[in-house]
C-alpha cells in the first residue's frame, strides 16, 4: 500500500483548506510563522487591545515550535512540533481573523475542532521526535517579533516540502485515534 501524499503552498485559501482530508500526508512549502505558548499569549493580548498581530494572520499557517540552537552552517537547530493543546484557548481569536492552518502534535479541544469547520481551517500533525530531520525542510528563518522570548519568539520560516499529516480537517474528520471515555 502506498501512502497518498499531496503538496501545498502558503498562503492557503479556504477552498484549498477544505479539500484537505484527515489522514492525508501533505508536504508544505512557503512562508510559515513559528509561535508557541508565550508568543500566543502576547498575540492575543495585542488583539484584545485592538492592535494588529505582528504578522498577517489571513491565509497563514502557524507552526508550534521552539527550535534548538542552530549548529554552525545550519539554518536552524532541530525543530519538531510541540503539544498543540496548550494553545487551544488562545487559538479561536486567530482563526476568527483568518488563520488557515496550524502545525503541532497532540489532540485539539472540541472548541478548536468546531472552529476549523466553521472557518475552513486545518490542523496538521508533524512527527514529534523527528526534529533533526524536520529542520532540514526549513530553508530560511528570521525573528519577526518578541525576540526577548528566545526560542519562544515569533519566527518567519521558509518551508521546503515540510512533511505533515492532516490531523483535523475542516469537515470534522480526525486522524488521531480517540479512545471512548
Amino acid at each position: 500500500m502506498i501512502l497518498e501524499t499531496l503538496e501545498i503552498e502558503t498562503p492557503l485559501d479556504v477552498e484549498h483548506a477544505r479539500e484537505l482530508r484527515a489522514g492525508t500526508k501533505v508536504l508544505i512549502s512557503g512562508r510559515i510563522f513559528g509561535a508557541r505558548d508565550a508568543a500566543h499569549r502576547r498575540i492575543v493580548d495585542l488583539l484584545n487591545a485592538g492592535e494588529p498581530a505582528p504578522f498577517p494572520l489571513a491565509g497563514s499557517i502557524i507552526y508550534y515550535v521552539g527550535p534548538a540552537p542552530a549548529k554552525e552552517g545550519h539554518v536552524i537547530g532541530p525543530a519538531g512540533p510541540t503539544t498543540a493543546g496548550r494553545m487551544d484557548t488562545l487559538t479561536l481569536p486567530l482563526l476568527e481573523r483568518g488563520l488557515r492552518g496550524m502545525i503541532g502534535k497532540g489532540y485539539r479541544s472540541p472548541a478548536v475542532r468546531a472552529a476549523l469547520c466553521h472557518y475552513g481551517a486545518v490542523y496538521f500533525a508533524a512527527i514529534g521526535g523527528a526534529a533533526a530531520l524536520l529542520a532540514r525542510h526549513i530553508v530560511a528563518k528570521r525573528v519577526v517579533a518578541f525576540e526577548d522570548l528566545g526560542s519562544e519568539a515569533i519566527f518567519e520560516f521558509t518551508f521546503d516540502r515540510f512533511p505533515v499529516v492532516v490531523a483535523n480537517d475542516a469537515h470534522g474528520g480526525e486522524a488521531y485515534v480517540r479512545l471512548p471515555e
Binding site: 501512502l3 534548538a68 532541530p78 519538531g80 510541540t82 497532540g106 489532540y107 514529534g128
Partner: protein, 292 residues
C-alpha cells in the same frame, strides 16, 4: 575496579577520594552524547516494530524516526529540540569521599556545560517562569550504596510525555485489575500528546513521594529488560499487549505500536493503599549510565 556488587559480598572496600570535577566532566560528556544518540536498544525495538505494522502511515512514521536518529548522530545534533530537564540518579559508594567542592554544584556545572549548545528549557520558579538560561538546576537523586564506586544514570526528559504522566493512590480492593485499568487510562488519555511509540515506566507501591520515583527509575531500564520478580514480569507482558491493543499507534495516528516496552518497579507500601505512578517516555528516550 571494585564494583558495588563485589562490595556486597564483604560489605567493605578501600576508601577512595573522588574529586567532584570528575562528576562535572562525566555529566557533561554523557549528556552531550545522549542528546544526539538514541540508545541502541530503543532503535532496535523501533526497527522490529516496523515489521509488525500494516498501516502505511505507521510504517512511514517509524521509518522517519529511524532516519532522524541516524541523521542526528551523523550531524552530531540533538534528535529532538526538547533536550529536556536533566534528571540524574547518583549512586555513591559509602567508602567514597567526595573532595574538591560541592557535589550538587559540580553536577549542575556538568549540565550547564552540556547544554551550552542545546535548548534551555528550565524556568527557575514554576509561577514566575523566568528561564534560568543554562538548563540548571538538574533534578538530582542520591543513593548511598556499599562499595567505593560512583554510578551516574541520567535522563534528558522531554515534557510532552512528562506532562501526560499521572499518579494515583488506589484502595487495595482495586487489586491488580484496578492497577491495569489506571495504566491503560493514562496511556489512552495521553494519545498523541506524549509522542508515541512510548516507553511506559510504572511504579507500584511506596508512598506518594516515592511511587513517582519508582516510575522514573523504570525508565532507566533498557528495552528488552524484564522484571526479576515473576508476578511483575507477567504484569509487564500483559500490559504491553493491552497497551498495543489500544490501536493508538505511532504519533497517535493508528497502528500496532503504541509502546515499545512497559517497565514496572514495585516497592513496599501501606495496608491502606496501592500507589500507582505512570511516567511516560517519548519517541526520543535519551538516557545514559556511567561508572566512575
Amino acid at each position: 575496579m571494585i564494583t558495588s556488587a563485589d562490595a556486597g559480598l564483604t560489605g567493605r572496600t578501600v576508601p577512595r577520594d573522588v574529586d567532584v570535577a570528575l562528576l562535572s566532566d562525566a555529566v557533561e560528556r554523557e549528556l552531550r552524547i545522549a542528546a544526539g544518540r538514541l540508545p541502541p536498544d530503543y532503535l532496535g525495538a523501533l526497527a522490529d516494530a516496523a515489521q509488525r505494522e500494516s498501516s502505511p502511515l505507521a510504517i512511514d512514521i517509524i521509518g522517519t524516526l529511524l532516519e532522524n536518529a541516524a541523521y542526528a548522530e551523523r550531524e552530531e545534533i540533538p534528535t529532538c529540540q526538547d533536550t529536556g530537564m536533566a534528571i540524574l540518579f547518583i549512586e555513591i559508594g559509602q567508602d567514597v569521599h567526595l573532595i574538591g567542592g560541592n557535589v550538587v554544584e559540580a553536577l549542575n556545572e556538568g549540565v550547564r556545560r552540556a547544554y551550552r549548545d542545546l535548548r534551555k528549557s528550565i524556568v527557575g520558579d514554576p509561577l514566575l517562569r523566568k528561564n534560568t538560561g543554562d538548563n540548571t538546576p538538574a533534578n538530582v537523586h542520591f543513593d548511598i550504596v556499599p562499595g567505593n564506586a560512583i554510578r551516574i544514570q541520567g535522563l534528558m526528559k522531554g515534557f510532552g510525555a512528562e506532562s501526560m504522566s499521572r499518579l494515583v493512590l488506589l484502595p487495595p480492593a482495586a487489586g491488580i485489575g484496578g492497577v491495569k485499568e489506571f495504566i491503560l487510562d493514562v496511556v489512552g488519555r495521553a494519545g498523541p500528546n506524549a509522542c508515541p511509540p512510548l516507553i511506559v515506566g510504572v511504579g507500584i507501591g511506596g508512598s506518594f513521594d516515592s511511587v513517582g520515583l519508582l516510575a522514573k527509575r523504570a525508565l532507566l531500564r533498557p528495552l528488552g529488560s524484564v522484571s526479576p520478580l515473576p508476578h511483575v514480569a507477567l504484569l509487564e507482558s500483559e500490559l504491553i499487549a493491552a497497551i498495543n491493543a489500544l490501536g493508538i499507534g505511532p504519533q497517535g495516528l493508528g497502528g500496532a505500536t503504541t509502546a515499545l516496552g512497559v517497565h514496572v518497579e514495585v516497592g513496599a507500601t501501606h495496608i491502606a493503599a496501592i500507589p500507582v505512578a505512570v511516567n511516560l517516555n517519548c519517541s526520543a528516550p535519551r538516557r545514559f549510565a556511567v561508572e566512575l
